[in-house]
């Protein structure tokens, strides 16, 4: 028990602000690329391969685990090309904006009672706000490349991202109504301690009561990540990668990292909002042990959500631009508005 108390003491100890900040910075600086690596390896490389009865990377490291590291190191050695006609500053800054958007989401995602970078009162609102920054980055990339495919891709991407930003925001609203807070930590505890129509056996993971919200959220996330069936903006077979077309080397990899980092972040967001986050309904939420178990629980849930996202990705063809806009405006948004009203009615009536 001494070991455990030591750990709990360590975790409970008042760490000076600067030290904790540095730790948090370090952790997130590791988490984002690692998240991108894990998702890239597990899903993009392995799951996709298995779905196609093949193996995926095998040679770089055992079972190809080092493949993406090799990719990263290789991209470091690639020449950095600015096309003649490109707007150099904007071209160079666009990946940064996308990456900033990704990094900032991680600030509020909790992985344990204390394992969170910053517990903001407006948590989920903040996360949605910063995730919308990437639109600017994508438009910058599309415009600055001075390339037709890039511009078309950028415009399409922006059009799609904003169209699906709304269902994303509105789908969250149901959860917020149920939990009565924007703070992600409180949403987690609301789920762990909640009840479904008076039955509290498993708490109240909002996926059960907010299934429509979860569905809309998932579809919107799929679109926000520009993954099939919503990958028109980066459609290889027509506009050859869209806004990324002129990017080389590490600059391209930043987009890649941004995409997968965001996928991980959205997966985490989905598990916090709908799957109960790091908590289990049977534990004492304040227990220090959750600071260790929480991240593991989160990882499992995130992987589950990502598996779903990537499963869709590898199965479906892409929707045409008009079809996906129609889906957003004529189906998802009205549905989520109805969902808000219905949830509100239930909240007030019950």
């Amino acid at each position: 028990m001494t070991g455990a108390t030591a750990v709990s003491g360590l975790l409970a100890a008042e760490v000076p602000y600067w030290a904790s900040s540095i730790i948090k910075l370090g952790v997130v600086a590791l988490v984002v690329p690692t998240a991108a690596l894990i998702l890239g390896y597990v899903f993009l490389m392995k799951m996709m391969s298995f779905m196609q009865s093949r193996l995926g990377p095998m040679e770089a490291g055992p079972y190809g685990t080092l493949q993406l590291l090799a990719d990263g190191l290789k991209f470091l050695q690639k020449e950095d090309i600015f096309p003649d006609k490109a707007d150099r500053t904007v071209f160079a800054l666009a990946p940064l904006v996308v990456l900033i958007s990704t990094f900032l989401i991680y600030v509020v995602i909790p992985a344990g009672p204390d394992a969170v970078v910053a517990q903001l009162d407006v948590g989920v609102f903040y996360a949605l706000a910063v995730s919308s920054l990437s639109v600017v980055g994508i438009l910058m990339a599309g415009w600055a490349s001075a390339n037709k495919y890039a511009l078309m891709g950028g415009l399409r991407a922006a059009g799609q991202l904003i169209a699906y930003e709304l269902p994303l925001v509105l789908a969250v609203m149901g959860v917020v109504i149920q939990a009565g807070t924007l703070d992600l930590q409180k949403i987690v505890s609301a789920q762990a301690t909640g009840e479904i129509f008076g039955w509290g056996g498993i708490g109240n993971p909002f996926i059960l009561t907010q299934f429509a919200g979860f569905f809309i959220f998932l579809v919107a996330v799929q679109a926000e990540l520009t993954q099939p069936p919503f990958d028109m903006p980066v459609a290889e077979s027509e506009i050859v990668g869209g806004y990324q077309v002129e990017y080389t080397g590490f600059r391209f990899l930043f987009f890649f990292m941004g995409e997968f980092g965001t996928a991980f972040a959205f997966g985490a967001l989905a598990s916090v909002l709908f799957l109960g986050g790091w908590a289990l309904p049977w534990g004492d939420l304040g227990h220090w042990g959750f600071n260790i178990a929480g991240p593991v629980i989160m990882l499992v849930k995130v992987l589950a959500v990502s598996a779903l996202i990537f499963w869709f990705r590898f199965t479906y063809p892409r929707l045409r631009e008009d079809q996906l806009q129609r889906l957003a405006w004529k189906f998802l948004i009205p549905l989520s508005l109805v969902n808000i009203v219905v949830t509100g009615v239930f909240k007030v009536v019950l």
Partner: protein
């Protein structure tokens, strides 16, 4: 600037860099003729699955590519495009010439519109024989290329030279 290009990079570092390039070869899908289908089989057929070797066929644009496989007949009309796309790839870049047509003109050696060998236009690192080479033959070419990349001297390559194996 240009630690590697100057040739002053320590040996373990260049070794590591070589390893990374060896196992991460993003391949630009450059389908030209019959060989393109066998190249497609190498990429697309689970039986061959070139991704195992770290050859990733993702990029649709030459800007992100490391390797281009000239697979098939190169016509005089196509030559400018090939040259341009090759030059649009960022260094370091590698070329595999796949099949008789790309090697030497192959069955069309006497045609009025076919270029007799891609090596007249761009430097080639590995020639894969066959008409079309079976997918394993291309795999063998890729393995050969990987071996050579693993042992090459980057300083030469960085200046646009051929693969120099230690």
């Amino acid at each position: 600037m240009g630690l590697v290009a100057s040739g002053k990079a320590p040996k373990p570092l260049t070794k590591l860099l070589n390893l990374s390039r060896k196992y991460s070869i993003w391949m630009y899908q450059w389908g030209l003729a019959c060989c393109a289908i066998e190249m497609g089989a190498v990429i697309g057929s689970p039986r061959y699955d070139v991704m195992r070797l770290g050859v990733i066929p993702f990029p649709a644009s030459p800007r992100q590519a490391d390797l281009v496989v000239i697979s098939g007949t190169v016509t005089d009309k196509m030559v400018p495009s090939i040259l341009r796309l090759y030059e649009q790839m960022p260094d370091p870049k590698y070329v595999i010439s796949m099949g008789s047509c790309a090697n030497c003109g192959g069955p069309y050696w006497d045609s009025y519109s076919v270029t007799k060998g891609i090596d007249q236009i761009i430097p080639v690192d590995v020639y894969v024989p066959g008409c079309p080479p079976r997918p394993e033959a291309l795999l063998e070419g890729i393995v050969l290329l990987q071996e050579r990349i693993g042992n090459e001297d980057p300083a030469v390559r960085w200046k646009g030279g051929p693969i120099v194996v230690d």
